[in-house]
């Protein structure tokens, strides 16, 4: 799983190939969820000790490290993951590369994970720590899919309505899917609320097939017998 390109779901928003390739994303390596949970909780707690803003800063820094360093220079990542290199050498490397450029908590996170040989889980830990932060601040990630791009006051209205319905601060990510025809589909976590035109037509089709086949059949039989 981990060897497939880490194409995150956010990339599908305006991707013209999104519909053609429904194979959206590999989500996570489910074999290490407990380790990831332990590291992310520790990271969130350590960063939050410096205040709520510090947590945001640390997570931003670490996300930047992931996006700008680890993803852009695979050879560096490979070096950090390599068992041939001594952890102490890697530690030196990390210190030289990031000391002074990252906050103490962020750098220590990298170093601790390196010392325990868990640097491979870095991306997952950062993502999980961000979701811990969102949960604590009552933020909910919401995906809104529409047939046409949602902009301006309409998007604000949707956001406001979601805030009331979810009793939380929605972090809205918009996706455009022309096949919806109209209306919108809202996904909060695993739950999908489908109020799209396509969904409604599908419902109608389903109801006609399921509910009325028998009726049509019996009427047809009735007519064929009486004829």
């Amino acid at each position: 799983m981990s060897d497939s390109p880490s194409k995150s779901t956010s990339g599908t928003a305006n991707d013209p190939n999104a519909a053609a390739h429904p194979r959206a994303a590999t989500i996570f390596d489910e074999s290490n969820t407990e380790v990831v949970a332990a590291y992310s909780q520790a990271l969130a707690a350590a960063a939050e000790a410096g205040g709520p803003a510090a947590l945001d800063d640390v997570l931003d820094e670490l996300a930047a490290v992931q996006a700008e360093v680890f993803e852009k220079s695979p050879s560096f990542t490979a070096l950090l993951n390599s068992p041939l290199v001594q952890p102490s050498e890697k530690d030196d490397l990390l210190r030289r590369a990031f000391e002074g450029k990252l906050s103490v908590v962020a750098l220590n996170t990298l170093r601790v994970m390196n010392r325990h040989g868990r640097i491979g889980l870095f991306a997952a830990v950062v993502a999980e720590a961000a979701s811990i932060r969102d949960r604590r601040r009552n933020r909910r990630a919401v995906v809104v899919r529409t047939a046409v791009p949602l902009e301006g006051p309409l998007l604000d209205a949707v956001r406001a309505r979601l805030a009331v319905l979810l009793q939380a601060d929605p972090i809205v990510r918009c996706e455009v899917d022309a096949s919806l025809l109209g209306g919108l589909v809202v996904q909060v976590g695993d739950l999908v609320y489908d109020a799209s035109l396509r969904g409604r037509l599908e419902q109608l089709r389903h109801r006609l097939i399921e509910g009325k086949t028998h009726e049509i059949q019996s009427r047809r039989d009735h007519f064929s017998h009486s004829a």
């Binding site: 994303a25 590999t26 976590g189 695993d190 739950l191 419902q203």
Partner: protein, 574 residues
């Protein structure tokens, strides 16, 4: 077929006019990995165990393993078109199959979808694939016979309606033949049969459906087929689905049903496959820990349901539908204690013009005939011992007997039916009483006689009788016999009417006698069928019939040769 298109249009138009779409709330997940009929899904956090889920390609799945961060789903269909990252939708429903009269005469897959090219199955009823077996109060003891039409079984290991009788034996010993003969014998008895083919060759199943068609058995039979090339999840759910289809007739119609699971060892193998793929811990022979439960919960669904009684006006005719609301006092009396209570109530409150009647939808039954294939006669393997302990008896088939020409190759010595004589008509109980003991004594003597010792006349007689009885219990495939015919034939054998017929001719004698009985003595046969017991007048008449036939019967060999054909002729006066 004539029908008016505008009628259909009007139905659709009305539906569209009254259509109110609701915001559909569904739960989704994403496929993490997929293969071998198993998918691992991330998300679906609120899914139930056993809930049906839907993949993007329209294939259904069953949530099987609920883990902390993922859900293990078994895929009931083509898994090759499911890809990583695809959406999986929870349906909020447990797996159901279509049931009803529309399925009778059809060949369907374990999801109830037709595979016989005869158009869609149109029915408004469905049942859960996994349902709870009826409890103690809903059942009544098994006492009605389920005639297999096979002499060796109906006489010595009788099966009752609602019983679970295991058919066990090596490959190619005629296990399926017994099950098929039993289905053929249900013609005209009102029993609905379900034949579940699990992991069998499609050609075998096609041949079998053809046989059922030729003998007119498809009129009351449903065939549920999960072929050898179908994915393991389909093979695994096939018996449960077949059972649900039979349950409809048992619960809703009060009808007797027969379910053949051919065979459960293959189903166990399919379940082992998907359990191992789902990383459930393997146990003995690598079967999962709940393999016993998989079979026991299936077989426990076979039952003889308790009768329900209501008090109705005496004028109510027998043919009228009586349901639970037909009672004059609104009460329903359940089972044997209920019948007593109803009798008491009738006597104390409704003196005149009322009677007790059984509701037409109660008293249904589901008889199960599971099949188990053993390897080299090894009945102490894991799955055979499990199923032996679950069922109410077993019919052992022996390869040696089969190849010696004793077909059906039932080993009467170790085959048992724990329901026993209660599930026999009195006439059969009477003639079969000594049969098992006679045959056991014969086996013992036969071994002794092989030593070449000189035998006394009585022993020789017993040996000769035994040889003829063994010959008489042979029966060709697709030739089930009516119980009255069986009674007459076994009576003739055990009372010595065959003693003068050469052993080689016993089968010819039998078929000619049965022709004679059916064609010339139909009145007597009907009387026996109606009376069901060997009362003195019937016995007298039967003796007369046998005497008359004895006069008519012409042996192919002269009497002297007939004597010579005996293996060890005893000199006169010995």
């Amino acid at each position: 077929m004539k029908f008016r298109a505008d009628e259909i249009t009007s139905v659709i138009q009305r539906e569209i006019e009254h259509f109110e779409a609701e915001v559909a709330r569904t739960e989704v997940g994403l496929v993490l990995n997929v293969g071998d009929g198993i998918a691992l899904v991330h998300g679906l956090s609120g899914v139930m165990a056993g809930e049906m889920v839907l993949f993007e390609n329209g294939v259904r799945g069953l949530a099987f393993n609920l883990e902390e961060a993922s859900v293990g789903v078994i895929i009931l269909g083509d898994f090759t078109t499911i890809h990583e990252g695809e959406k999986v939708t929870a349906t909020g429903k447990l797996l159901r199959v279509p049931v009803g009269e529309a399925l009778v005469g059809r060949v369907v897959n374990p999801l109830g979808e037709p595979i016989d090219n005869k158009g869609p199955v149109i029915t408004q009823f469905s049942r859960l694939v996994e349902s709870v077996a009826p409890g103690i109060v809903d059942r009544q003891p098994v006492d009605e016979p389920m005639q297999t039409g096979i002499k060796a079984i109906d006489s010595m290991t009788p099966i009752g309606r609602g019983q679970r009788e295991l058919i066990i034996g090596d490959r190619k010993t005629g296990k399926t033949a017994i099950a098929i003969d039993t289905i053929l014998n249900q013609k005209g008895t009102g029993v609905i049969c379900v034949y579940v083919a699990i992991a069998q060759k499609e050609s075998t199943t096609a041949g079998l459906v053809d046989v059922l068609h030729r003998y007119g058995a498809m009129d009351y039979t449903i065939v549920v087929a999960a072929g050898a090339s179908d994915p393991a999840p389909l093979q695994y759910i096939a018996p449960y689905a077949g059972c649900s289809m039979a349950e409809y007739f048992m619960y809703e119609k009060g009808m007797p049903t027969l379910c053949v699971y051919d065979d459960l060892s293959k189903q166990a193998v399919a379940y082992r496959e998907l359990s191992l793929l789902l990383r459930r811990p393997p146990g003995r022979e690598a079967f999962p820990g709940d393999i016993f439960y998989a079979h026991s919960r299936l077989l426990e669904r076979s039952a003889k349901l308790a009768n329900k009684y209501v008090i109705v006006p005496a004028a109510t005719s027998e043919s009228e539908t009586i349901d639970e609301k037909s009672g004059v006092n609104g009460k329903v009396y359940l089972g044997v204690p209920g019948a007593e209570e109803a009798k008491h109530e009738l006597e104390s409150h409704y003196k005149e013009g009322h009677k007790i009647a059984k509701t037409t939808t109660s008293g249904g039954s589901l008889t199960a005939l599971p099949l188990i294939e053993t390897l080299e006669g090894e009945v102490s393997a894991y799955i055979p011992t499990n199923v032996i302990s679950i069922t109410d008896g077993q019919i052992y088939l022996q390869p040696d007997l089969f190849f010696a020409g004793v077909r059906p190759a039932v080993d009467v010595g170790i085959s048992v039916s724990r329901v026993g004589g209660k599930a026999q008509i009195p006439a059969m109980k009477k003639v079969a009483g000594g049969l098992r003991l006679d045959l056991a004594a014969f086996r013992e003597l036969e071994a002794f006689a092989q030593l070449g010792t000189e035998l006394d006349k009585a022993t020789q007689m017993q040996l000769d009788r035994g040889r003829r009885m063994v010959e008489l219990l042979k029966q060709p495939q697709y030739g089930p016999l009516h119980v009255a015919d069986q009674v007459c034939v076994i009576y003739a054998g055990s009372e010595g009417w065959l003693d003068e017929v050469p052993v080689k001719e016993v089968q010819r004698w039998e078929s000619e006698f049965l022709d004679f009985l059916r064609n010339h003595k139909a009145a007597f046969r009907d009387k026996l069928i109606a009376e069901k017991k060997l009362s003195d007048p019937i016995v007298t008449e039967l003796k007369a019939v046998l005497g008359e036939f004895k006069q008519r019967y012409k042996s192919a060999t002269s009497p002297a040769e007939a004597l010579a054909s005996k293996p060890k002729p005893v000199p006169a006066g010995a």
